[in-house]
């Protein structure tokens, strides 16, 4: 039997009972559609989280004060709670470790900030002039904190776009305005560009001031809460992390690495950890959607078994005019595969629509990948074969004499 004949037979069989074929296809459509939609949501979330992490800078190593969790140590003090790192540590890292391209020490704390009657509670971050390069920030208007202002302990501030809106309202020119942080007046000299971003707290709601000013007027000590080190080569992150660890241990006179008074966070570790979480999330979503796909497959099998019983005489006739067992089984198998294939195509479109609606109306990032579409197609074809095989096999084994007598 030729393939074209097989397809013609299949077409007429499927169109013979449109309602039943339609409902069976619907089962597959829902299954494939939800798998595609769920994978797109999962991958969207993964992409967004990774982009968030990337947006804080590239090739970053973050050093924070506090104990590293060691063997037998269950207690771990929070990052930033301890005061062990200084600006000199940061400078030493830049000087001694050739893999480090730039460092940006910072000190951050939340303060109540006021300006002309309005006020807001936001993070105030003391930074050096290297901050924009290391943390990948750009200015919208004005200028960033300069080395000169750092040296002079200038009372100048650069605002995040959200903070600017909170303090002055939208559309007000902020440069030159005065704001008051912890009873100290600062003059606004710039506004950074929005980074958007959700997840790890908004990066748009913050105020930057010179590190030296923050130490002198706000914290009153010489400690910093984070040192960001940018590494020259992404492949040498681990080596750089080791070198920084040894340098700081030496500087802090600590001999046992277990007792280190700082912890080091590697950006690629964060990405990896986040990816593994979202991967699990995606697999979970897809698995739940997969259950409906199996139900759809059972629907196919149910329909094919009914069809075989209904068309017993037809099978008998086909055998009497010379159809072999293989001809009969391939006819019914093709029917099952075509049903699931149609369901697969519509399902992919449905899944695409669902994720489009999710993005458009619910602001959920989704990614439709070629992988998920290929997966959907191969799964639907496999379901057609698996659930269509048994009915087709049963049909092919019918005895032509009994099949012709069947009422």
């Amino acid at each position: 039997m030729k393939l074209s004949d097989l397809l013609r037979e299949t077409y007429s069989a499927i169109s013979m009972n449109k309602v039943r074929s339609g409902l069976t296809i619907l089962g597959i459509v829902i299954g494939i559609g939800s798998v595609v939609a769920m994978i797109s949501i999962g991958q969207g979330a993964q992409g967004e989280i990774e982009a968030n992490i990337e947006s804080i800078g590239s090739n970053l190593i973050m050093i924070m004060p506090g104990m590293q969790a060691g063997v037998g140590t269950q207690v771990r003090s929070g990052w930033g709670a301890a005061q062990t790192l200084t600006q000199e540590d940061a400078e030493a890292i830049l000087e001694n470790i050739s893999l480090v391209a730039a460092v940006s020490p910072e000190i951050s704390k939340r303060y109540q900030v006021t300006a002309k009657g309005t006020n807001t509670n936001t993070s105030v971050i003391g930074v050096t002039s290297s901050y924009p390069a290391v943390k990948n920030r750009e200015l919208e208007i004005g200028s960033f904190i300069s080395d000169q202002q750092l040296k002079n302990l200038s009372k100048v501030a650069v605002l995040g776009p959200t903070t600017r809106d909170d303090l002055f309202g939208e559309g007000v020119y902020p440069l030159g305005q005065k704001i008051r942080i912890n009873k100290v007046d600062f003059i606004v000299i710039g506004v950074v560009k929005s980074k958007g971003g959700t997840g790890f707290g908004s990066q748009d709601d913050m105020i930057f001031i010179p590190l030296s000013t923050a130490q002198r007027f706000l914290s009153g000590d010489k400690y910093v809460t984070t040192i960001n080190a940018q590494i020259k080569d992404q492949n040498l992150m681990t080596l750089a992390q080791q070198q920084i660890t040894f340098l700081l241990l030496e500087r802090h006179n600590i001999f046992d690495p277990q007792m280190a008074d700082f912890s080091i966070l590697n950006q690629s570790d964060i990405v990896e950890a986040a990816s593994s979480v979202t991967n699990t999330f995606t697999i979970l979503l897809a698995a739940i959607a997969g259950i409906s796909l199996i139900v759809g497959g059972i629907g196919i099998m149910n329909m094919m078994l009914t069809t075989v019983t209904e068309r017993t005489r037809e099978i008998g006739l086909r055998k009497s005019v010379g159809a072999k067992n293989k001809d009969i089984s391939s006819q019914f198998l093709t029917e099952a595969i075509i049903l699931t294939f149609i369901g697969g195509v519509i399902g992919v479109i449905l899944g695409w629509l669902i994720s489009f609606v999710m993005t458009k109306f619910f602001d959920i990032t989704t990614v439709i990948s070629v992988f998920s579409i290929l997966l959907a197609f191969s799964v639907s074809a496999a379901i057609g074969i698996i659930f269509g095989y048994y009915p087709a096999h049963r049909a092919s084994l019918l005895n032509p004499i009994e099949a012709l007598r069947y009422e």
Binding site: E9, A323, K324, N325
Partner: protein
């Protein structure tokens, strides 16, 4: 030439053993028109199944066109049916909601005959079976019983078989339409010299054949030339 030699068919269930055919032997020459007659339970249906290669005998030899087909497997039997035998059934067994043409080309689909060739042969067969051309594109369930049976005859003819085997072909028809169908068989036999075997329990139907084989309780009781063959001229 068809030769049956000591054909025996035994059906076994768990407790009972039924001998449906006992040592049946006869020959059929090419171009004969035979009626196999017997009451129900006589074994004529079993004989038809064996003649039509739908089943194989328990013992004995069946030579069809010189080839022993009594020991073949399912798919080999299907191959023989495809090339050598055309069936006409009591209840027509047409594909419902399919056109006349599509019904007739069905055996050719399994022989991989090209599409254009198929349609040509189907029309020829329908013409020989006596169906008007205006019905060729009708759906099979829109036809009358007589027309349906002529479509079935055309389907039996289309693969140019060695033997046409009809199982109670007039059983579902009134006597007038029955005559139309019997006339079609006679024409095929007279004009095209086709070998036709009709299985029936009605003497009136058997009378239209040139030779009548009477069968009862699994054995042939009489095998005679019908000197009073009823010829239909419509």
């Amino acid at each position: 030439m068809i030769e049956l030699l000591n054909i025996t068919k035994i059906y076994k269930t768990v407790s009972v053993e039924t001998k449906a055919l006992k040592n049946v032997s006869f020959n059929v020459k090419d171009g004969e028109f035979i009626a196999i007659m017997g009451p129900s339970g006589s074994g004529k249906s079993t004989l038809m199944h064996i003649l039509g290669c739908l089943d194989v005998p328990t013992s004995g030899k069946y030579l069809l066109d010189g080839r022993d087909v009594s020991q073949l497997f399912d798919d080999e039997l299907a191959e023989v049916r495809k090339n050598k035998i055309g069936f006409v059934f009591q209840s027509f067994n047409l594909l419902p909601r399919a056109t006349v043409i599509r019904n007739v080309v069905l055996p050719l689909v399994y022989s991989n005959v090209p599409k254009i060739e198929r349609e040509k042969r189907a029309k020829e067969a329908l013409f020989n079976a006596g169906l008007e051309e205006s019905h060729f594109n009708h759906l099979s369930n829109q036809l009358s019983g007589g027309q349906m049976q002529r479509v079935a005859i055309a389907r039996a003819l289309v693969n140019n078989p060695f033997l046409i085997l009809a199982d109670e072909p007039t059983g579902n028809l009134d006597s007038k339409t029955g005559e139309i169908v019997l006339e079609a068989f006679q024409k095929l036999n007279f004009k095209q010299k086709r070998t036709v075997i009709i299985i029936t329990h009605e003497f009136y139907v058997a009378e239209h054949a040139r030779r009548i084989i009477h069968i009862r309780d699994g054995s042939i009781i009489k095998d005679e030339i019908n000197h009073h063959q009823r010829i239909i001229k419509l």
